[in-house]
């Protein structure tokens, strides 16, 4: 063994397996077990120093809160350590490749964070006089212009707070338009079986009835099936394009024409817009309404499940129904709210939420758009599609493609046919990817494909990163095929937690911390 002159060993020494060396704390070096704030904090401690209040005559009367609340307090060093440790149990885009299909986990530029925190955006109140927020209104209007230009649509409702909220806004606009025409009897919304769950949920929320349209063997919706489902009671179709199988609907123009001919509207789920930004415009394809997930396509961070932002672009046929509030440009920027003077034809259908939408996300999205420019956004879509196809082409010999080896858009969809008789399921395969340092792809969605694995690499990956990912997946695929079941069934072995018991969580839900029962005296 080599040593330095103090006798300190400098070689790696003897090896052993981690499992044979459990630790006292349960910690594994940098991976530290962390208690809940309720187990660390104390009610009398605070990490915020606040001067004593003035002495005044209180106006709370009998409604003063006298009972203990039960909230723990932590000092700043304790808070920092707690949340840094928690963060280290999370996988993010900055950790590694995050191929979650349909979610567009692309790079989140820090410039965008910086811009959103400029006091002129981050520290202005939604109800300040309009004269004091001209720049904020200009930003929203500029973003609206970009969205309209990129989609080829004449109008956009900016206030929806996420994709599903945008869907709701779009479907409300359709409902308002139908009612304005005296066609409120149209109650049916056509939804392909491959749709996101939010589509039928949204339609049902405002009283539409959902009618399924079958998916076909090639993964697309056929105009003939749409025509067969159309009738005088049909209000709209909700179609995702590119669809959830990662395929551009090649009969989309014909589908749009058939829908319009039947007096119905075409709602497009824009979750997959990232494939076609700068390449094709929904407005040119006959779409009437489409939400845009700024937190997907335009890179506002997902933040562990939000906040999102879901502006909805609207066609000429729906433009009049944009909800409150909206911006009107004249001498300056004015915000039209309830009671404001409406121009001829404007028929806002109501309000989606308090205030004016997700400003913080607007700033980030516009920073993304300005940075990329028209050329960069087009290139980003091409690279997103190229990366997905590269993965498809590099795995097609080992993993099965439900719709044949045809080009995909920005995500590649595999099924579990190739895992038949291996004893390994899609879930097992996904969990083994965790051990290899990857976030799993979207699994078991879309529902029309058995054991679906939907891989969306996005344009943010280098070729070297893709090559390593492909090599890891190929190694896993070979392992599955040669029967190395243990590598999958127990996976993940190396994550902060092994597989979690979801059945137990749902059967006896524990949704909050409660203080432990005091130990009962044995002599009781």
């Amino acid at each position: 063994m080599s040593m330095n002159n103090q006798g300190r060993p400098t070689s790696a020494g003897e090896t052993g397996t981690a499992a044979a060396h459990p630790t006292f704390t349960g910690n594994k070096a940098l991976q530290i077990e962390e208690a809940l704030i309720f187990e660390i904090g104390r009610p009398e401690v605070s990490g915020v120093d606040i001067p004593a209040p003035k002495k005044v005559k209180a106006r709370i009367g009998k409604l003063a809160r006298n009972e203990a609340i039960g909230l723990p307090g932590l000092t700043e060093p304790e808070v920092m350590r707690h949340y840094v440790r928690l963060s280290q149990k999370n996988y993010g885009i900055d950790t590694g490749l995050f191929p979650l299909g349909s979610c567009t986990m692309k790079h989140n530029a820090r410039l965008n964070e910086k811009m959103a925190r400029l006091p002129g955006f981050g520290d202005v109140h939604p109800l300040q006089p309009a004269s004091t927020v001209q720049g904020a209104l200009k930003l929203i209007d500029t973003l609206a212009h970009y969205l309209k230009e990129l989609t080829g649509m004449p109008a956009v409702a900016m206030s929806p707070k996420a994709g599903a909220h945008g869907e709701l806004c779009g479907m409300m606009a359709i409902k308002a338009a139908l009612e304005a025409k005296g066609e409120g009897h149209r109650k049916i919304v056509l939804v392909p079986e491959s749709a996101h769950g939010t589509n039928p949920a949204t339609a049902a929320l405002i009283g539409f009835e959902v009618r399924s349209v079958p998916a076909n063997a090639d993964g697309t919706v056929h105009v003939s099936d749409v025509k067969a489902a159309l009738g005088p009671d049909v209000a709209a179709i909700m179609l995702t394009n590119p669809n959830t199988c990662g395929i551009f609907e090649k009969e989309i123009v014909e589908i749009a024409a058939a829908i319009h001919k039947a007096g119905a509207y075409f709602y497009c789920d824009g979750a997959n817009f990232n494939a076609i930004v700068g390449k094709a415009r929904p407005g040119d394809l006959g779409v009437d309404a489409m939400h845009i997930n700024l937190h997907k396509t335009f890179s506002t961070p997902h933040g562990g499940g939000g906040p999102g932002s879901g502006p909805v672009v609207l066609s000429e046929r729906l433009a009049a129904f944009v909800p409150y509030p909206f911006i009107r440009v004249g001498k300056g920027y004015a915000l039209v709210e309830e009671g404001g003077k409406l121009d001829k034809g404007e028929q806002p259908f109501g309000r989606m939420s308090a205030f004016h939408g997700q400003m913080g996300m607007f700033v980030r999205a516009l920073a993304y758009m300005l940075s990329h420019g028209a050329d960069g956004m087009r290139l980003a879509s091409e690279d997103a599609v190229l990366n997905a196809n590269y993965i498809r082409a590099s795995l097609a010999d080992l993993m099965s493609l439900p719709f044949g080896n045809q080009p995909c858009m920005h995500e590649a969809l595999f099924d579990d046919d190739w895992l038949k008789n291996t004893g390994v399921s899609t879930l097992d395969f996904a969990k083994a990817m965790i051990d290899e340092g990857y976030h799993p792809m979207t699994m078991y969605f879309p529902l029309v494909v058995h054991g679906a694995m939907l891989i969306e690499p996005t344009e943010s990956e280098s070729k070297a990163s893709l090559d390593l990912f492909i090599a890891a997946l190929r190694d896993l695929a070979f392992a599955a095929k040669r029967g190395d079941v243990d590598r999958f069934k127990g996976a993940p072995y190396h994550a902060p937690r092994r597989r979690l018991d979801e059945t137990r969580a749902a059967r006896t839900p524990i949704l909050r911390w409660t203080p432990p029962e005091p130990f009962k005296e044995a002599a009781e």
Partner: protein, 451 residues
């Protein structure tokens, strides 16, 4: 392009591997006539510095809350957020992660959601809370739908002193869902009358009553009696709180019998940001948990018996239940929950109580100063950190004039109730820990000069 790692050579090599000649071959499904030949009509790519210049110029056209004496509230409040909060929420592993669908590598998110749910339940005095809604207003609309599911009735009664944006959000969704809403008229002068009007409106069809406290004019309400009245009639009480700091000083709706509490959580940890993103708090009784909208995080164990957390009861949700889901919500306010829970952990019970006490004392001080201004009346008998004043003249014009004099004075009621002439001379004034004695003196001087 600094965000796109592929080189031209990479692209060539990759196309060769795929077996196509050009990238447009991958877009073959797009009808030829619809495939754009070149970039759309927008400016081309820019460097960081240029983007900062453009956006910096837009930002500079706004007056930010920290620049001037600032008293604007009505559903969004200027509070001080400790520096550590914004640092922590920008940790990559929080900022750039997704909804925790793979719990083995998302325990960070899941554990803070569990902590958040517990804090919200404690704060509101309720048994359970979900992992957030988009904001208070959308949470309120979802609460009404939930009440309809629970009671199997379809009529909501909205108190007149509910924030008009909340009212409009509920009305819009309800109208689209063909549910009935009775919206009562605002009553700034007599807060007790507002509750009496709600009580009188309850009937056998009523699914829920929606009451805000502190209400939009700042009045505090004891909901105990009306909760009982609603429940005796088979209806639920939905309590709305738009200023959660108040819960550090005021009896929470849960202790007064509320069935559902929805709140805007922006005051804790989240900046003003011109109205969003914010964070909706949603809490209810254990017995209604399966009718709740939104994500829920629950405790469980992993394969080695260690405590861990997962999203649970997802059979309520759209990705499983589709058209039979309790809500269409998917993305919520994850990162804002984190900001909330960090700030709340820093405050703790003692800090929250102190913060609330300072807010209240500052507001009392301002109210007393304003009551001494000629022609100005403070309308509230009770309030937390916001109250309504009546001014001699057009409130919107006075607020605009004061803004020109460098004081952002509050929200003219006419902005929220454009059709109520009786509210033309009313201003909603908020006062938090950020306001100093100098700010309050400036307010009084500017108001005096503007009426």
């Amino acid at each position: 392009m600094r965000y796109l790692p592929l080189t031209p050579q990479d692209r060539t090599d990759m196309l060769a591997k795929i077996g196509v000649a050009a990238v447009d071959d991958l877009f073959a499904n797009v009808p030829k006539s619809k495939l754009l030949k070149g970039p759309v009509n927008l400016p081309h790519a820019k460097g960081e510095l240029e983007v900062e210049r453009i956006l910096g110029a837009m930002a500079a056209e706004n007056i930010s809350a920290s620049e001037v004496p600032f008293f604007v509230g009505a559903g969004a409040y200027k509070h001080h957020v400790p520096a550590s909060v914004d640092h922590l929420i920008q940790r990559s592993e929080f900022l750039t992660s997704y909804t925790p669908y793979q719990p083995e590598i998302a325990q960070g998110t899941l554990q803070y959601l569990f902590e958040f749910q517990t804090q919200v339940a404690l704060l509101t005095g309720m048994e359970v809370a979900n992992a957030s809604m988009y904001d208070g207003s959308t949470g309120a609309a979802e609460a009404v739908l939930m009440a309809h599911r629970v009671t199997k009735r379809r009529k909501a009664i909205l108190a007149g002193n509910l924030h008009p944006h909340y009212r409009d959000t509920i009305e819009t969704l309800s109208r689209m869902a063909s549910d009935e809403v009775v919206s009562l008229a605002p009553n700034p002068n007599d807060a007790g009358a507002d509750l009496k009007a709600v009580a009188a409106a309850i009937d056998a069809e009523t699914s829920c009553i929606v009451i805000q406290t502190p209400d939009v004019f700042g009045n505090l309400h004891d909901l105990t009696a009306i909760a009982k009245k609603a429940q005796d009639a088979g209806a639920l009480l939905i309590a709305v709180v738009t200023e959660v700091v108040s819960l550090g000083a005021v009896t929470p709706p849960g202790a007064m019998g509320a069935d559902i509490v929805v709140a805007e959580g922006q005051s804790i940890g989240v900046g003003l940001s011109f109205g969003g993103p914010y964070v909706g708090l949603f809490a209810t009784k254990q017995k209604y948990v399966r009718q709740m909208p939104g994500r829920l995080c629950g405790e469980t164990v992993d394969a080695e018996g260690r405590r861990g957390f997962v999203l649970t009861l997802s059979t309520r949700e759209q990705h499983i239940r589709r058209e039979k889901a309790t809500s269409n919500i998917c993305t919520n306010s994850g990162l804002m929950c984190l900001a909330f829970t960090i700030h709340m952990s820093l405050l703790g019970e003692s800090g929250l109580r102190r913060l609330a006490a300072v807010n209240h004392a500052n507001a009392c001080d301002l109210a007393d100063r304003l009551a001494d201004v000629d022609g100005v009346t403070v309308l509230n008998k009770s309030f937390f950190n916001e109250f309504a004043i009546r001014v001699p003249g057009d409130a919107a014009k006075i607020v605009e004039k004061m803004a020109k004099n460098g004081v952002l004075a509050g929200v003219p009621a006419a902005r929220l109730w454009p059709k109520h002439k009786a509210l033309k001379d009313v201003i909603l004034v908020a006062n938090t820990e950020v306001n100093t004695d100098d700010d309050r003196a400036a307010f009084v001087a500017a108001l005096g000069a503007s009426i």
